[in-house]
Symmetry: C2
Subunit: 223 residues, 2 copies
């Protein structure tokens, strides 16, 4: 097994080098980059649809959509007027920095304030792959249950913020927000925890506030 | 990258050999083995809780629970009187035949009619790893959305049956059963598609019927 671990370490080191190059170019452009990670069907695309609708006038935004198959998510976002480019991973369970670099080249987006990278739906594999982002967000829908942070600790420990989605389903599922809050405080003390519903709009202002604050901090830092 | 592919192929070949040994021993024992695969929070454990409650008198059953962290799922099942053994994968996004063989040795279950193997919550990685099972089931909750089979085609194409879960959430989410049915018919013609709710009990009889039919077929085949 040591040869396997060796190959894996080399893959991650290669990825880190590519990610550093991406990060440098995003810094030059002053673009805030958010790497969105969750289970399939947690509502990453729905959050971006709402964001596209509500922030269209305020920021130049685009999305890179990672999936194993189908152009569906990019199509959903383009239908809301967001620039979106679909990256198909060819079976791989995560994006990597090379795929992101190639996707950006093909997409040829104009200058951006915010770039969203919607990773492949998977709570595990995407966690170790730096994409040059400013921060990762971990999304968790209320329908998935309140035991998930401790069951998938790596992503919840590394995320720059945790976004609870589908809060509107709360009354119909068994999901105790205090239980989740306790797990996040243990794994990732001080990480913002946002409770949202793309369907009702609840909590979206806090999400937009987080984006504004991080973008401003990035540009202040650059100045 | 060819060295990486090489290592991956060798890992899968090793796994296939181990899985063949497991399959032979399950055949000798006449134990039906079901490998359950889904996203995190689709309701694999909830389906097993209901199954434990409803079939306890009829079959000798047990479960191997695969997770990255926590003993929570095995504890939930033991609380329902089901024999359950937790396998922690040490960060890996799937079970493999070696982990299953070791888990069975440690668990020391008595003779079983049905062994459930609840894989790590992940729609991608577990798909390629044969665990010696009779068939895989793919679970999909209505909360995850009706676009998932085409987005994660490998597992839906290979599953011996597809189980839709959380049918009770149907009225509160956007999920068109006909859309899912069409995708499954394309990917996996003839595969049984069961619509269930562990909460209300809807559709569970069809699930129990499928288990009974497959167990009977296995034992007839052995005789």
């Amino acid at each position: 097994m040591s040869r396997t671990l060796d190959v894996r370490r080399r893959i991650l080191e290669d990825n880190d080098r590519q990610a550093a190059a991406l990060r440098a170019s995003f810094k030059t452009g002053g673009t805030l980059v958010v790497n969105m990670i969750s289970s399939p069907g947690s509502g990453k695309t729905a959050l971006l649809e709402a964001t596209a609708r509500d922030l269209a006038g305020r920021y130049a935004m685009a999305a890179l959509e990672g999936d194993i198959e189908t152009e569906r998510d990019a199509e959903r976002l383009r239908a809301r007027g967001l620039r979106a480019y679909q990256i198909l991973t060819g079976g791989s369970c995560h994006l990597d920095a090379r795929l992101v670099a190639r996707g950006l080249e093909d997409a040829a987006f104009p200058a951006l304030d915010i770039l969203f990278i919607e990773n492949v739906g998977n709570l595990i594999c995407p966690t170790s792959y730096d994409l040059g982002e400013d921060f990762k967000i971990a999304l968790l829908s209320t329908a998935e249950g309140d035991d998930k942070p401790f069951k998938y600790p790596a992503i919840f420990a590394r995320a720059g913020a945790v976004v609870i989605t589908k809060a509107d389903l709360g009354p119909h599922v068994s999901f105790d927000m205090d239980v989740v809050r306790g797990q996040i405080e243990t794994l990732n003390p001080g990480a913002p925890l946002l409770v949202t519903s793309a369907r009702t709009g609840d909590g979206l202002e806090a999400w937009y506030g987080l984006l504004a604050e991080r973008l401003e901090a990035k540009r202040r830092h650059r100045a």
